[in-house]
Subunit: 337 residues, 2 copies
């Protein structure tokens, strides 16, 4: 089955390639193609099962109708939710999504971005890894349209859409305080990510604003490489302290899941012995014997916003927008009243 292109159709009908192109691109009457030929061409295209070669089209048009997406790790619930939202929105706008997962590796991130740029994507949606500032700046120099998603760097002025992390953490902490918790631990990754630091800040400010004196061991910073051990160690500390914490606030779903596994192993009752609040969502939160109260990120909205911001950039070039969305507090029963 040799491939059929415009040429084959043209030969079959007995007209020029140009005419075929016009008709098949819906420019039939604009270019005043005779009804007769238009008809024949369409029929032939159908019969011969013509598939336009998008590669050739892209080359000529200098436009691929493709968006590159790099997520941090395809196994995160966040990534799949956002990917799905982006795919759906992109499709509406007639774009295809080329996709890659950096697995939180800076090198992989760089490779992926390069591969996508070489493939002439029209723009990129990026969940950057740590230390990827250089690559981001490079993109700006090259003039490649992109928008950062979820994570961003305050020192790099770029378009982004993210959660209002400060407010989410502040509100989450305030929620716990209002429920009567006085010793609230925060489990967060030890990282240079601004969005995670904002979560710390929101937590700390909420404590302060409510007159609660923060104690240093309440903030447990987890090394991602050793997370299982670190979380266990951290939970040990906040539980065995002379004045044990009465609530644990997890800054991500992955932290919470690991934490809950260990709490199960210890036989610690949630929320009787410890209230639990987490960022993000997870199937596991619903299946835990006590559904976990969590701060849900609006993945749909984030994905949509990222796509439309990107397309605006692709079409009209200069755009300068930073979007911070609000989280929802989804009440489970994991916080003692």
């Amino acid at each position: 089955m040799k491939k059929v292109g415009l040429k084959e159709i043209a030969e079959h009908v007995g007209v020029s390639i140009a005419l075929v192109s016009y008709v098949l691109n819906g420019q039939a009457e604009q270019k005043q193609v005779s009804k007769d030929n238009a008809e024949k061409i369409k029929k032939a295209a159908e019969e011969l099962n013509y598939r336009p070669n998008q590669i050739a089209k892209s080359l000529k048009m200098l436009k691929t109708q493709t968006i590159g997406l790099v997520v941090a790790d395809i196994n995160y619930r966040f990534s799949t939710g956002i990917t799905r939202a982006i795919e759906a929105e992109a499709k509406k706008e007639n774009y295809t999504v080329l996709f890659g997962s950096s697995n939180e590796s800076e090198d992989t991130f760089d490779e992926l971005v390069n591969a996508l740029v070489n493939r002439q994507v029209d723009g990129l949606i990026l969940v950057p890894t740590e230390k990827s500032q250089q690559q981001i700046k490079q993109l700006q120099k090259w003039g490649v349209p992109f928008v950062l998603l979820d994570r961003y760097f305050p020192e790099v002025q770029a378009n982004h859409v993210a959660l209002n992390n400060y407010k989410a953490a502040y509100d989450g902490t305030a929620h716990l305080i209002k429920q009567g918790h006085g010793r609230i631990a925060l489990f967060n990754y030890q990282s240079t990510f601004y969005h995670l630091q904002q979560r710390n800040q929101g937590y700390l400010d909420a404590l302060k604003d409510h007159g609660i004196g923060f104690q240093k061991h309440w903030l447990q910073e987890i090394d991602n490489a050793d997370r299982v051990a670190d979380i266990q160690h951290g939970l040990g500390i906040i539980l065995k302290h002379p004045q044990p914490c009465d609530a644990a606030f997890f800054a991500t779903d992955t932290l919470a899941i690991n934490g809950l596994k260990y709490l199960n192993k210890l036989g610690v009752q949630v929320p009787q012995q410890l209230s639990v609040l987490s960022f993000d969502e997870s199937d596991a939160f619903e299946l835990f014997y006590t559904p976990i109260t969590h701060l849900r990120q609006p993945l749909e909205a984030m994905g949509q916003a990222a796509v439309s911001m990107l397309i605006e950039q692709i079409d009209h070039h200069k755009v300068n927008k930073q979007l911070a969305l609000e989280s929802d507090l989804v009440a489970g029963r994991s916080c003692r009243e």
Copy 2:
């Protein structure tokens, strides 16, 4: 920042485009390019920050070094695991993955496949939806290399890699029987999928081979559209029956998660009142108060096998291979001994 192509480098160095192409493709000595020019060209490419235009390259080479992947639903644990494995393997082989999620819709599946073919992917890895046989046959007619993953159609002779579903279900059931369960329910989707029917068959044969008389209400067929209600209804039946079931075997993770949520709501103790065994894996299985025993699919191996089978097909064309992999039984504590 206007873009730099071979032309710009050629002008900059003062040689022809061909020479630049040779050098940058590592054919310098094969084509006997002078060391001097080779040097200058490499330097210029570096300085000018040359990015090869893969689109142009693909057009000329009639090869895109791209694999199209269509999964059933990006939110499935299976999909992310397999996607990750495929991406990693493809990268090793110097391929990029173009990715889409059909969301179990036949129309979306067709659209995605068409879009990928139009983009001239070198081959496809497909997790087909129900009723996609026609599209599959079409691909065969077009001579597009592809391999089916996870699901396949016995009436369509095509390359595939999948689990040995019959054996997995048979072994799972036998495991429950050996632990002393005598009334085992199977929850499976009501579907035309052969791989799911194989799970039924394995279950039924295991019962028979162990001298257990199957009772009709043990097999609960769930309509995916109404799954929440159907599962609740099904669990009601097997639990309230005069001779209630002592074990529930879920044919997929999604079924199990829904089932466990409802068991939680009912206050049914696992495994004291009901043992639970499931296909697939899930974070939720570990977090449930009783870790759920499950049949783990070898996602890594499946992804790798699919990629290498596909590449073999792309390179050498005629291949005819069907691969059935074995599952692992991961013991939790959800089956009463």
